[in-house]
Symmetry: C2
Subunit: 324 residues, 2 copies
């Protein structure tokens, strides 16, 4: 046990925080860490912060582990082979077109694998989280936006260009409000953390709700706290989001005959406030897949927001496994 | 070339006709045949008709081929391993729970593989039709109802219970009309051949349309003929169906990052009347997958309604390949 362990570091780059996790050669999670960031910092500053965080982790691990590789999960469309960010809405514009993989590989002297954050989270759920034991499942990450990833036939399914799982931009309201992606009525426009917050603040401004929390402090987290304390209106924002999420997830279940749905991301911390309406709506809309035909299990992520960081570390570790 | 060829027979059992196709050991389609039937005949009568048809084909092939296996495609939920029909809406109720596979195997003295018709059609498109060359595609069959099937990573994706591709029962109108499946607003309730016919007849009865065809003769086929002859209202029924289909298909593209959609089934014979609005809607709702990121190809089935029969023959032939 005194020999140095092979270690992979995973970074999940979000709009409001950077998460870091390390895994060893057996796929066991060794550490977790979170650093607050600012969505509006420049790309260069965020990158600097990321590099600093990785160097710090590398320094701490020096005595006990040998860093094999680093996984970097980012929100947006990525070209995995080229290690390039094609399109990101959650980070600043200057990240678009940036070949983060090769740049960080050169900077850090270790192979860096760039992944989409939702697909990284799916890898994390699949190999170290709530997806273990399911052959066909969808992992949905409900945060500022909504992302997703799929495990089919026991393997992460990437899609023809590595861009599968874009459930946040499936249409749920045909003539709904415009979405940043160019479509209208996307799931993300009505069921994301941002949408819940917007609906809650609009209710206050319209005078239909007088919550015990100041309007500027209303976030998915504080709204959930109000709901748990008995505010029925606060509860409705989660019921509405969960119902629409349930419809979109039911459609995925019909199309793919899934066994399970794993719900993660910051908004999933609301727990049953969100999961109960999701379950109800899926049951109601997938009667073809009745319990006697397997039904569908809906579970909350057990990785407490670290699915993306853990998944990117596991992905990076696997990269070195297959290349050696 | 005088040696007898190995042959597989494929049967596609529909609500209005039985289709038969034969393929040889190289997967080449050798013959196609259609027999009219009646959706309201009893299960026993339809089965008798099917057995008769297969025996006839077997007799005709006697001199030239050796029958290896028979594939039977049926509309509905099936248990492929048990060869049992779990639930069918398009056939009579007595088919529910019927173990057609073992029964026909005993009756015909050849292994009979039971398949879902839409999945059989997907196999047909994949190996002998418009799906060739695509690694990730959805085959959608628009007929009396709407079925689907998926090829992912170059293989037919079956789902956790062999029931994938149920795109006809994905929700497109959250509070839409009740569907036979128990849900509301399913794609099938607004975009199937039956839905197009119902909308057209309703327009005549409401006095908003005076077509050149008697109301009782209005079917997807005759409505398409009117549209081609210049009746703009007739065209609108296909535009409406195609638009809603396009939305459901766009959702599948987002979820799975598909390369292509193959549109088959009787209603697809309307060609561009249906495909043009499908393409328009998919393009509009999948801006994330812009042409420079691969885009999505939408093609009409080239198998002229025989995808299910050909696919079930190919599936049956493969069954004997792997078991030998």
């Amino acid at each position: 046990m005194n020999a140095k362990q092979p270690i992979a570091i995973g970074i999940d780059l979000g709009g409001t925080e950077i998460k870091l996790a390390t895994v060893d050669g057996q796929g066991v999670v060794r550490s977790r860490d979170t650093v607050q960031t600012d969505a509006r910092v420049s790309g260069a500053r965020l990158l600097e912060q990321t590099v600093h965080l990785v160097r710090q982790a590398m320094g701490e691990l020096e005595g006990t582990g040998v860093i094999q590789a680093i996984g970097l999960a980012v929100p947006g469309v990525i070209d995995r082979d080229a290690g390039r960010i094609e399109l990101t809405v959650a980070l600043t514009e200057e990240w678009n077109g940036y070949a983060a993989g090769p740049a960080l590989t050169a900077e850090l002297g270790k192979p860096v694998l760039l992944m989409n954050d939702a697909q990284a989270a799916t890898e994390g759920e699949h190999r170290a989280g709530s997806g273990r034991g399911f052959r066909d499942f969808l992992s949905v990450t409900v945060g500022t936006g909504i992302g997703g990833g799929l495990v089919l036939n026991g393997e992460v399914y990437e899609g023809s260009r590595g861009m599968s799982g874009v459930i946040g931009h499936t249409t749920v309201v045909p003539d709904g409000i415009p979405c940043g992606c160019g479509n209208r009525g996307c799931l993300e426009t009505v069921a994301s953390g941002q949408a819940i917050q917007r609906a809650a603040r609009a209710a206050v401004e319209a005078g239909t709700w007088q919550p015990a929390t100041p309007v500027d402090d209303l976030t998915p987290r504080t709204i959930a706290a109000l709901a748990r304390a008995g505010d029925l209106t606060a509860r409705v924002f989660f019921t509405n989001a969960g119902t629409v999420l349930g419809m979109a997830l039911a459609n995925a279940v019909c199309l793919l005959n899934l066994e399970a749905i794993v719900v993660g991301g910051g908004v999933a911390r609301a727990g049953e406030l969100l999961l109960d309406p999701i379950r109800h709506e899926i049951r109601r809309r997938t009667t073809v897949f009745s319990p006697e035909r397997g039904g569908v299990t809906v579970v909350q992520s057990a990785l407490d927001g670290y699915a993306g960081a853990i998944g990117s570390a596991l992905g990076a570790m696997r990269l070195t496994d297959t290349s050696s």
